[in-house]
């Protein structure tokens, strides 16, 4: 996957990712319209499908609302690269099949607007603008299986068959 990097800071909370005033629905397409609304109201219009979010520490802190990774995925974010993720957001992203990469150096050095290429299976991040490559923290085997199947529900379905 290839796309442009959009930079966000530390402690980006789930209220910034999808404010509660839009949580009276769980329709992904509807939620996508308001992704990152309170961090940058124009972001959804500026970004293109396939782009990446590159953020600092503790991305997705706060509420357990799965609507947050769902909104980003439906908006077309192909993966999130961050120094670290908040726990529930991390779980939720894996469970709904939104790729997330914990890569502190990449998150620090990639600049807004850089062209980035990511190989999720290999955990490789390439900054095509600067020419630098990074390796993300690999998932434990069990989580990799969930990721490979596109989320927890598909994983459970394959297990119960």
């Amino acid at each position: 996957m290839k796309g442009k990097a959009w930079k966000f800071g530390n402690n980006i909370d789930t209220d910034l990712i999808i404010p509660a005033r839009y949580l009276n629905t769980s329709d992904p397409a509807e939620l996508a319209k308001y992704a990152m609304m309170d961090a940058d109201a124009e972001w959804v219009d500026k970004m293109n499908k396939g782009d990446f979010i590159v953020a600092g520490d503790n991305f997705g802190c706060g509420s357990s609302r799965e609507h947050a990774p769902v909104a980003l995925k439906a908006a077309g974010v192909s993966a999130i690269i961050a120094k670290s993720f908040a726990r529930i957001f991390y779980r939720n992203s894996i469970n709904i099949g939104l790729p997330i990469l914990e890569a502190p150096q990449a998150a620090e050095e990639i600049k807004e607007g850089d062209e980035v290429e990511v190989d999720i299976a290999a955990g490789e991040i390439k900054n095509l603008t600067s020419g630098k490559s990074y390796k993300a923290q690999p998932f434990p085997e069990f989580m990799q299986k969930i990721v490979d199947r596109g989320g927890l529900i598909n994983y459970l379905k394959s297990r119960t068959k």
């Binding site: 404010p19 509420s63 609302r65 529900i153 379905k157």
Partner: protein, 419 residues
Amino acid sequence: MAQTISQKILAKHAGLKSVEPGQLISCKVDLVLGNDITAPPAIKEFEKIGVSKVFDKKKIYLVPDHFTPAKDIKSAEQVKMMRHFAQKYGIVNFFEIGCMGVEHALLPEMGAIKPGDLIIGADSHTCTYGALGAFSTGVGSTDMAAGMATGEVWFKVPEQLKFVYHGKLPKWVEAKDLILYTIGQIGVDGARYMSMEFTGPAIDTLSVEGRLTMANMAIEAGGKNGIFAVDAKTEAYLKKVKAGKGLVYRSDADAEYKEIYEWDISKIEPQVSFPHLPSNTKPVSQCGSVKIDQSVIGSCTNGRIEDMRVAAKILKGKKVNKAVRLIILPATQKIELQMMKEGLTEIFIKAGAAVSTPTCGPCLGGHMGILAEGERSIATTNRNFVGRMGHPKSEVYLSNVAVAAASAVAGRIVSPAAL
């Protein structure tokens, strides 16, 4: 292997003798919880799994509390979906308006939580139940769906943190201040992925309600769970709510902690978290002159009867400042009734406060007290993120109950001692 309370509960539910931090385990759960925001997507996911029944009809709790009584048509549809799901699968614990309450106040009060239980809830403040010696943590809707279908959940065993509080709580300092102080010290990711065990002489003096307030905000430091050892106060509480004794665990003396924090709290003041992070704390005397438009007393953090008594003590015979809207939200029907019996509701209404039916309401910017652009609210709630209570350019200041009540009278953030 020496273990903490949290590790012992996880090991028990994974069918193991012991567990180590970092270990991936699959646990049986005692209770699965969801609300009107998180349950509807969980229900959609549940239906995709292809099972014909839930793992246990009595162990699933569905509490429509966030946007209820339904604030708009879409919210009403969400609750309708929960109601139908409960009927379809024979789920016993669905709470309609009239018997519902804010989930994390309701469940302990009705005796649904026992020590040693392992609980998952699709709400980040599910960590509240650690106050009763349970391992309890927030998850998302898909985990809730999987939990409802299988009765199991996967965990990475968290690293352990211990917090020891020494000294006597000064006047007007509440359990809320201990947790705000803690978050101020370690930051909003200071306990990321970790267990927070709260101990020490000051903790022993706290009521169970105060401990619920502290455990509630473990998530605000990034914690996976917050936990307290069971003592005589816990036992008396469990007896009162007819919860059963459960399984009581103690942390081994030589259990390993990633970090141990020790604080003397005898000199701390009531704490105020400035916008826009709970960790942005200041002692109340150093807040300067912050004028407020609204004060909110309630939520899963501070909406219990003891909180209402503190508020009444301050508001009795006083008037809410003309420039301030004071909104008081008892967290459950039972609390609301008790307020009436004790005459607290009358005190609030005479003071010029609006008393609401139980709801999460303004805490998450849902309804019942949304802020306009540029407005400020002090609140006994748990989060002060950008836009949390309304307009992205509004501000929320977090405090204990006494400060929120006193500030409503003064029109600006003050210590109750200043009234």
